[in-house]
Symmetry: C2
Subunit: 200 residues, 2 copies
């Protein structure tokens, strides 16, 4: 397979699935509390499974000052051919495109918070830090994702403290049971669990 010629036109585009707009509220909708914000993230995870457009994970980024949604994200790893296509990565990338900055925590930015249907893997833990969000709220625990077979990767044991030391507050277990049901349904349907390999 000759591939090298293709790198001279290297670009990469990903898209959110078409069904996304059908589950989002009106643009002016004000989310009133953590549970409502997380419910959208969990709904994205659930609909992503139902539409067969990726793994059982969703994320949402909000302007905490106004209560409005900035960007949604879902896992698109398999359909997008991109192992980096986790829900948090997608939501951060889209929010940064919308706000035209690599740093959601920079000057003149609103207070941005990310809600994820499951605690971050090793990659998304780092990505959360670099994104500039000021707050992370999670539904399912990392152990819940491990329980259905997903590897969360090499995270420090004290990852919550590592975020908080860098100015990102962490809230856990928001709608955990609802998010766990999405993970269980995904496993029960026999959908693909992709992971790093084990040493041979």
């Amino acid at each position: 397979m000759s591939v090298s010629n293709e790198i001279f036109s290297s670009e990469f585009t990903f898209r959110l699935p078409d069904w996304i707009s059908s589950v989002l509220p009106d643009p002016g909708h004000v989310f009133c509390d953590d549970e409502e914000k997380m419910r959208l993230a969990v709904t994205l995870a659930r609909e992503n499974v139902r539409h067969n457009t990726g793994g059982p994970f969703g994320a949402t980024i909000f302007n905490c000052d106004t209560g409005r949604l900035i960007a949604p994200g879902v896992n698109i790893v398999i359909p997008a051919h991109w192992s980096g296509g986790h829900a948090e990565m997608i939501a951060c990338a889209i929010a940064q495109q919308i706000l035209q900055t690599h740093d959601l925590g920079g000057e003149k930015m609103p207070f941005c918070e990310i809600f994820t249907s499951a605690e971050p893997c090793a990659m998304c833990l780092g990505a959360t830090l670099w994104s500039g969000v000021r707050r992370l709220a999670c539904a399912a625990r990392e152990q819940d994702a491990r329980d259905i077979g997903f590897d969360e990767g090499p995270k420090p044991v004290d990852w919550v403290a590592a975020l908080e030391e860098r100015g990102i507050s962490v809230t856990r277990d928001v709608l955990r049971d609802e998010a766990v049901r999405v993970l269980q349904d995904y496993m029960d349907q026999g959908k693909p669990i992709y992971n790093a390999r084990k040493k041979k």
Copy 2:
């Protein structure tokens, strides 16, 4: 600022800088050893600084069986408005588009190896695992990046062992001195160091 309407057309495209093709060898070129493979990664880092198209980091992914380049990557964080735009992330995403898979270590894939001009940050450590590459070679140490002010994020102390446990062999210090000079030049030129915030 009203942004919510924009999410209904959510997609994200990134491109490698135009100058990239000028530093790549002919598509059929066979790289003969680790130093030659790393030299291209370090050259990408150096040229990225010179062209002012991103941070002082480069990466290259090779087909180890043939010695041919699969994909290059450079840091495009600031120009692309994307905190996830580290060199390794870009190289993995492009390689996966070229090979049309989320798993470079899957069946029928060549043995893929990634060369990076600096050891991975917390995000790229996780991303390396999920990418499916079978080998990671690094030039500058994470401490070298820290020395010029970059935060590497919360990595486990035993991150090399964590990769090797998952079947990814790690080689360090390949052309370390050359890569450190690129980092030093970047700092000496007063170019932007972007990081997570510290707790207030």
